[in-house]
């Protein structure tokens, strides 16, 4: 079963590994990885919560809309679970 997820569109300050260009975008889970310690805590020397890490596949059309170079090309990125919600 392929799962659709949306990247949260929050804009917090600080060390974040979710690129801004993917925030608010919807994609399909390509594979599940982890758990890995939360880098948002590691960066500040805090004990880090283990998190699932998901590789999410997006279409260029979803990311860039009408401005996409080739809408059917794709992009994959690893997103920590707390940045994803069901879509």
């Amino acid at each position: 079963m392929v799962e659709r997820v949306r990247v949260r569109s929050d804009m917090p300050p600080g060390h974040i590994r979710t690129p801004a260009y993917l925030r608010g975008k919807t994609g399909l889970i390509e594979r599940r990885l982890g758990p890995f310690p939360n880098p948002e805590q590691l960066a500040y020397r805090q004990p880090a919560t283990p998190l699932a890490l998901l590789r999410v596949r997006f279409t260029m059309a979803e990311i860039w809309g009408a401005a996409a170079e080739t809408p059917t090309d794709t992009l994959e990125a690893e997103i920590y679970a707390h940045w994803l919600e069901p879509a």
Partner: protein
Amino acid sequence: MNDKTDPFDGRRWHDMGGDPAGPVPDADHDFALWEKRVDALMIICSSKGHFSVDGLRRVLEDMPPSSFDEMSYYERWIASIAQNLIEDGVFTAAELGQTMTDVKQRGATYGDAAHG
């Protein structure tokens, strides 16, 4: 970077995916000994738990946008390594400052100051 006419939306300079930019430079260079030493110090200090790669990146990202163009890659790295080691209590800023002054007095080039 954000268009200068837009109000700041929280996206910072290092988060540059999708920004317009010029041609990819045909650039490469072998690394100088001091640069390789910086890289080695990062790997050694992180493997011994003094700080993490995320700590390294946090300090790099907190640098002003101009640092990306005005400082070289390993210049930014040694600045971040030094700050992380101060935060970890490995040495104090005063110790680092005094040592740097001593190093500088040894000679005018890297080779002289580093004793090789």
